[in-house]
């Protein structure tokens, strides 16, 4: 009979393997999302410096004036103030109207501090596209993407649980890393990155399931509410507190002045800043004004808000951040997943943990092929299949970071003005990845690892230079120096490229040493290029 530990080891291997590549993609693109807003700015170099909100009431009035001029018959106005890093750093205005034939018409505007429209930038999906890939996978419908992401997350959670049960000495694994010992080194590396970031991995996986739960676990709603034409509305009202908007009466009444409402909001919620102003039925006797805070001001993914009568200014509801009920737990976990609350230092911690998660999956995938190779000695047919997996591993693991770098190259090099430019940036990324997977299949794994890791080091290190060659927002102007504030949000992206490039250079050096192309001191070994050392 198998022991529980043996069963779990077997399960850990297979659940990890089946979704390993998908999870690796999710981890890398998701980790990039910790800097989505900064990448958005980096990828739109034409945009001016961020707007600083000095007087929220004045900025809201400016936004509402713009909305009223753009869509006088709108049923809803929304103004987002640029106070949090969750947005583009400009005043954003959204309008919702209904056309004569009943269609919903939406408008979106971005404004500078003086109320003038934001100058047009190159057509790009920005960092949001890269970030959203980690659960939508870009080319497939979002619902299917969420299903795949949910299932992958459940596999990951099961792999984590079984991985913990499998480990006899989880504490000592934390301190064990035997380098240059072949398969043992891969196992130690896998254990170290897994155990060091275990709380993060559990949090990110479980909260990931929660983030797609309304799609992935849709039947839960049917279990509790049955299935009929009212199910959706009842769920929205009872579970999420979303009700149908009040019908307009048609009685025109001027909207109340917003400034006193903002003062009242700050009085009722002294720790919260106004981030979103939502006006429903503007100019009608049924109008309401909702002022909401930002989820970036706290770890809970639930903003506080105050709703006012739009005519009298009477307070209708006050909603504080939920911290006691079940939805509070969900909001807490989802807030931790997104990390919007994290300051610069904690954000670096999130990125390192995310990259180590990618490392955990990558080392696990390589370890599986190493173990398998030992078991299959003498079985030619199975070994041929294994070789394909080994080679695919190269293109997937080392190729994906290069493909992500290609997205940034495309952002700078694809001509501005061509049709579908934003989509072409993404196409370049995936075509690059495909090319690298083909390269990995065509070359011997040891050579392919070395070539792709070296290429990754070079391409990442060169991005800041490409940035300097193509824009005026490069490290020479964005890096904060004594007497010069610079632009840290832009500088941090270039600095990360350099750090990632250095990291790949280090790993490529190890790969070169293992393949016998350089010695321990970094010198080239004669004749090594033509005869690489055999694989382990």
């Amino acid at each position: 009979m198998q022991t529980l530990r043996q069963s779990m080891s077997w399960m850990h291997t297979w659940t990890g393997l089946l979704f390993g590549w998908v999870l690796y993609f999710m981890f890398l693109t998701g980790t990039a999302g910790y800097y989505d807003a900064e990448m958005d700015r980096w990828m739109r170099p034409e945009h001016p410096a961020p707007v600083e909100v000095t007087d929220p009431a004045a900025f809201v009035s400016m936004g509402l004036d713009h909305a009223a001029a753009a869509a006088p018959d709108a049923t809803e106005y929304r103004v987002f103030l640029p106070i949090a890093r969750t947005t583009t750093p400009f005043v954003r205005v959204f309008t919702t109207s209904q056309s004569e034939d009943g269609e919903i018409v939406r408008g979106r505007y971005e404004l500078l501090a003086d109320g003038s429209p934001l100058p047009a930038a190159r057509d790009t999906g920005g960092g949001q596209t890269l970030y959203r890939m980690h659960w939508t996978f870009h080319y497939i419908p979002a619902v299917i993407g969420e299903f795949i992401a949910g299932l992958a997350a459940v596999f990951m959670l099961a792999a984590i649980i079984s991985g913990i049960i499998t480990h006899k000495k989880i504490f000592s694994d934390f301190f064990t890393l035997r380098l240059a010992k072949g398969q043992r080194s891969w196992l130690d590396s896998h254990n170290v990155v897994s155990v060091m970031t275990l709380p993060y991995q559990i949090m990110i996986t479980f909260s990931g399931i929660l983030l797609v739960m309304t799609t992935f676990f849709l039947p839960i709603f049917i279990v509790h509410y049955g299935y009929n034409e009212n199910t959706q509305n009842t769920v929205l009202e009872e579970v999420f507190g979303i009700t149908d908007p009040v019908e307009r009466t048609g009685e025109n009444v001027a909207l109340i002045d917003i400034a006193p409402l903002i003062a009242r909001y700050e009085e009722l919620l002294p720790d919260e800043r106004v981030y979103i102003v939502t006006i429903t039925n503007p100019g009608d006797s049924t109008s309401t004004v909702q002022l909401s805070g930002t989820i970036a001001d706290g770890v809970l993914r639930e903003p506080a808000s105050v709703k006012f009568d739009g005519v009298t200014g009477e307070v209708l509801t006050v909603s504080r951040r939920k911290i006691t009920n079940t939805m509070g737990v969900i909001n807490l976990l989802e807030g931790l997943h997104e990390g919007l609350f994290a300051g610069p230092v904690l954000r670096i911690g999130f990125v390192i943990s995310g990259l180590m998660g990618g490392g955990m999956i990558a080392t696990g995938l390589v370890l599986w092929t190493k173990k398998r190779r030992q078991k299959l000695r003498g079985d030619d047919k199975a070994e041929r299949n294994l070789i394909i997996i080994e080679r695919l591993n190269v293109g997937v693991i080392a190729g994906l970071p290069i493909a992500i770098a290609a997205l940034f190259y495309a952002n700078r090099l694809v001509p501005v003005g061509i049709e579908g430019r934003a989509e072409w940036e993404v196409n370049v990324m995936f075509l690059t990845w495909l090319a690298l997977i083909v390269h990995g299949l065509a070359r011997k794994p040891q050579s392919a690892w070395l070539e792709q890791l070296s290429a990754a080091a070079a391409v990442f290190a060169f991005i800041p230079m490409l940035n300097a060659l193509t824009t005026d927002k490069h490290l020479g102007s964005t890096l904060p120096l004594p007497g010069r504030p610079g632009d840290p949000d832009l500088a941090v992206i270039d600095l990360w490229f350099l750090v990632i490039g250095a990291g790949f250079a280090y790993v490529a050096t190890i790969a070169a040493r293992k393949s016998g192309k350089i010695n321990k001191k970094g010198g080239a070994i004669e004749g090594a290029a033509s005869e690489p050392a055999p694989a382990e």
């Binding site: 009979m1 198998q2 529980l4 069963s7 779990m8 077997w10 399960m11 297979w14 659940t15 089946l18 299932l151 997350a153 459940v154 596999f155 959670l157 099961a158 649980i161 079984s162 049960i165 479980f206 399931i209 929660l210 739960m213 309304t214 676990f217 039947p219 839960i220 709603f221 279990v223 509790h224 509410y225 049955g226 299935y227 009929n228 769920v235 009872e238 579970v239 009920n325 079940t326 939805m327 737990v329 969900i330 398998r372 078991k375 299959l376 079985d379 047919k381 199975a382 299949n385 294994l386 394909i388 997996i389």
Partner: protein
């Protein structure tokens, strides 16, 4: 997948042995393991299919049934279900793989679905 033909052949062999041994026969898992020792470990496809599909149904029904028994509002029951269902699903994955035979996993999850469904019928009324 590497080793797929061999693993799948081995799995099919085990599958037939399992059916012959009967669902509740204790010798089934023994036979499976003996067979596995000869031809390598059986591939986990049967368990995966059970865990993914039946596990999903069982997790949804069991979590819904469990929370429907709690004296809280329906909206709160739903939110609690959403919080727990992922954990229950992952736990059922582990359970299915911890068992030595796939047929026992199939039986247990079917029982869980039936009991949970029964509880839901009682608590929510016949088909709502």
């Amino acid at each position: 997948m590497p080793h797929l033909p061999i693993a799948f052949k081995s799995y099919l062999h085990n599958l037939a042995a399992d059916w012959r041994a009967g669902l509740a026969d204790k010798s089934q898992s023994q036979k499976t393991m003996e067979s596995a020792k000869k031809g390598g470990k059986p591939a986990p496809w049967a368990r995966l299919v059970i865990a993914v599909f039946l596990g999903y149904l069982a997790a949804t029904l069991a979590t819904g049934a469990l929370t429907s028994l709690l004296p809280i509002q329906r909206g709160e029951q739903t939110v609690l279900s959403l919080l727990l269902v992922g954990l229950v699903y992952a736990a059922l994955f582990v359970y299915v793989f911890a068992l030595s035979g796939w047929s026992r996993a199939l039986r247990d999850l079917c029982i869980l679905c039936a009991v949970s469904g029964g509880v839901l019928v009682l608590t929510k009324g016949l088909l709502f």
